[in-house]
Symmetry: C2
Subunit: 536 residues, 2 copies
């Protein structure tokens, strides 16, 4: 046939006969392309590569690459530069190259990828059907094996958004996520953990609860996430004080010796599918109830927890904004936890404003250390909340009488035993030598001042998080916000409400513009302060 | 601060002070990176690039690139190879480079991208809210300007899936899509068009309807899509006969002279947002009612159509499977068309099996030419359906009496006037010299035979399309399937049901494996043939 084709399509002439092409297709020499495409495997193929031409691919088609019994899928990017990849080479992005684990130059087998086996299940979900445990296992296992493109990942995340998953499906998804990761085993001991669903800047209670309950003698191997959409996660803040990316063996040894750890969960391979899903949830700022429950509980079970206290803050700008919503979410957590044999205690807390004063890794680490040091400048809300959460966990101890937990926790904190435990953990994980009395803050700053006199009646968690994020947190550890006034404080016009720290002019200007549009603070009369809804 | 950071994060030392970094960030030299990333703009930045380091980006962050008043957004891929991009260079993928339209080496301004303005509207849709016209305008305009990443595009497509858009939102989306493209103007003349929602292999009625109604003297500037998930679109099949990628001016000149054209819609810039959306809909095989209506009607209005006949086939394996579903879809088309001042005539047709014999560009072009040539081998279903559709359009002519359309259409076809008109269009667009009696089919083939004797009671449109696609259609024009038997035919065990053509062994084997799993044919008794639902 002699029909003229558009340039992007392969010309089909007698010269490249099928047989000739066929002989060339099966093996290509691997080349590491030094491009970091994040969680998506990309294969770079030269436009003249006989394999590419023979198979008649389009851009974004997927191929399967096999070597030594290992196999990966990768999305094609077509290259016109022989310097980058030659016609008989297969270029792999950094992550893909690492996954395949062969030497550069090795010959590998390449073929059109058959659609990942779970794609039919994904399409059924997209069509609105309920999925079974087997479906979720297939999907999650393909995701953990990096067999989904970003487009497919996003489709899964959005199709499971809002009310699309019923509670049994959430339970299935959670079990599937546990199934693809490693699972820690603590020889049947009671293992406690706490977790907050997030959304409150500065809410670093884990860094206080963990040393307190560990000092009480309970096992608390805490793995935390980095910030997804917030200015700091527990892992980001702990990283100011100590190493948090530790091999699983090291972690286990630390826990055996000190009863606890405060590490980043990602490296521990406890929930590899979650790690991949976050790569699309983060840019979309998505966090649906079903995925939240599956993500949190799968990691807790994988970490070997037997008892969990879960914190759901309510407030006008928190993730959960009404008591009925909080109760619905609590029931979902309880339903799934029951099916996983995990004992759960869901508390509903005051989420009307950030916790503590600091927002951003260094500032939050300062607040945590002030509480541990019983420093007069310690934020009382962070101290009280941490003591109550620790008290609840301590009451999981069969030797503790119900109601005694809070007093025991307070005694551990006030006596300095919690601080000593924290210092042990910092030393064991690898200290970063942080001076909490003189923290290194961003060299640039500006103040946001009250435009009128009155009482602080509202602090917008989202806007405070946004400004801190624009200022550079959590990536720039020293960036963030120091809140000088909280709900109920009386301020005069011109008083500094908060100070924003940054390390780069462009960050500072982004943050300043946002703060000028909206400071996040509302000034009014005491009677206008919204009511706190708490079940704790 | 001296805290140790993980390698992927930027070390923050006194050496790269903010001021020093700031001075270097604003301008980088553009370099064209010869990588085809399809519809996603990718910016390649060296890991040591001062701009990248100063801004503290992560992989997949977006940047804005400005030059000469033009601005594009691009997703960052981090590069560790100075050969590919130097530390002071900005590498742009092929598409991004072309969009920016500057010379290699030019200094351009680079900054962190502010979130596309429509992202709040997208999040409201993800949260299940109804959107207004202004929201859709903002989203569609960002999409058409390539300001959405693949992740964001997918989120939009999935969030508008199924029943997520009500009919007013579909109308808003359609208007927004019309708003961002060019719009053809035919000086108030009556402009007719036909369109099928797709899903039936071989359904190439446009290539017959257009020459018939144009021969009648009606204006029919037909722009069609390429295949999205099917083995051939009208544009793919027409491309066997003639050039289909024509500049808008050329198209308009052809229509002025011949009353018609049969071109690909993409190049005509009539619906640029649709073109981008398809890049994620295609890999997901998604085609929701709302997006289908918006995509089809926006292109019709942009092409200047005043009257449209729309074909909705129903069948067990068609896109629409029941009369109530077809009627619901018809009402949606009618509602949106009414708001666009487009006169629409929705017909519901027999979609129980492919139309004609051939599936794939060359085989379908052969069928079309057989009908135009009044060849005894012409498929009668294709001929009859095309005549009825053409008849409906001819009755839009105020000088034609209701009920006369079919006879007029038949006369135009039987007399050879339709063929002459088609030949005029082929010459005008640029002939590809196709010999319909001796079409160049794929050099490799295999037959699928009846496993038992009986009557053909079912042909699975989806499986036939899948096998033809695996065989290489539409990318390999000569690949596809020739159906030798249709519904109701009596066959003996061992009779050839259809023949599969391919040009490459690997394609042939993929197709053969799929046909072995399921031939797509069901053999049984005449009484088992499903009923046809038709409102035509």
């Amino acid at each position: 046939m002699s029909a003229k084709r558009s340039p992007a399509r392969r010309p089909h002439t007698a010269a490249d006969s099928p047989a000739a092409a066929e002989a060339k297709v099966s093996r290509l020499a691997v080349r590491k392309v030094l491009i970091d495409t994040y969680h998506e495997n990309v294969a770079y193929l030269h436009r003249q590569c006989p394999f590419y031409r023979a198979e008649g691919f389009t851009a974004l088609s997927k191929i399967e690459v096999r070597s030594n019994g290992k196999s990966i899928l990768a999305t094609i990017n077509v290259v016109d530069d022989a310097q980058l990849v030659g016609e008989h080479d297969l270029g792999l992005s950094l992550g893909a190259f690492k996954q395949l684990g062969v030497d550069a130059g090795a010959l590998v087998e390449v073929s059109q990828a058959e659609t990942p086996g779970s794609m039919r299940a994904l399409h059924r979900k997209l069509a609105g059907e309920r999925l079974q445990l087997e479906d979720f296992k297939a999907i999650v296992s393909d995701i953990a094996a990096h067999r989904y493109s970003k487009i497919e990942l996003t489709a899964f995340v959005v199709a499971c958004n809002r009310d699309e998953l019923d509670r049994e499906e959430v339970s299935h998804l959670t079990q599937a996520m546990i199934g693809v990761g490693r699972r820690l085993n603590w020889d049947g001991r009671l293992v406690v953990d706490k977790h907050c669903i997030g959304g409150l800047p500065g809410n670093r209670t884990s860094m206080l609860v963990v040393p307190i309950v560990a000092a009480h003698g309970m096992l608390c191997p805490k793995t935390s996430s980095r910030a997804i959409t917030s200015p700091a996660g527990t892992a980001d803040t702990m990283e100011v004080l100590a190493e948090v990316e530790l091999p699983l063996d090291t972690l286990q040894a630390i826990v055996q010796k000190h009863n606890a750890c405060l590490a980043w969960g990602g490296t521990a391979s406890l929930s590899p599918a979650d790690d991949v899903l976050i790569s699309v949830e983060r840019p979309l700022s998505m966090d649906s109830a079903g995925q939240m429950v599956a993500s949190i509980l799968s990691k807790k079970v994988a970490a070997g927890s037997s008892h969990l206290v879960l914190d759901i803050p309510i407030g006008p700008t928190a993730k959960v904004r009404s008591m009925p919503d909080a109760q619905r979410l609590r029931r979902l957590f309880e339903y799934v936890a029951r099916h996983l044999n995990l004992s759960i205690d869901v508390v509903i807390t005051d989420g009307r404003q950030p916790i503590g004063y600091g927002v951003g890794p260094v500032l939050e680490a300062r607040d945590v250390m002030r509480v541990l040091q019983n420093d007069p400048l310690a934020p009382n809300d962070l101290r009280q909340k941490s003591l109550r959460l620790a008290g609840r966990l301590i009451e999981c101890d069969p030797d503790v009488r119900g109601g005694d937990g809070f007093a025991i926790a307070r005694d551990i904190l006030d006596s300095g035993r919690a601080l000593r435990k924290m210092n042990d953990l910092i030393e064991a994980q690898g200290s970063h030598h942080f001076d909490y009395k003189n923290p290194a803050l961003g060299e640039l700053s500006f103040d946001v001042c009250a435009k009128e006199s009155g009482v602080v009646i509202g602090i917008d968690n989202l806007q405070i998080a946004r400004i801190a994020g624009l200022a550079g947190a959590p990536k720039i550890q020293s960036a963030g916000i120091d809140l000088l006034h909280k709900l109920g404080d009386t301020v005069q016009r011109g008083d500094v409400l908060y100070r924003v720290y940054a390390s780069y002019t462009s960050d500072l200007e982004f943050a300043r513009r946002s703060a000028n549009r909206s400071s996040g603070y509302q000034i009014g009369q005491t009677s206008q302060i919204p009511q706190a809804y708490v079940e704790f």
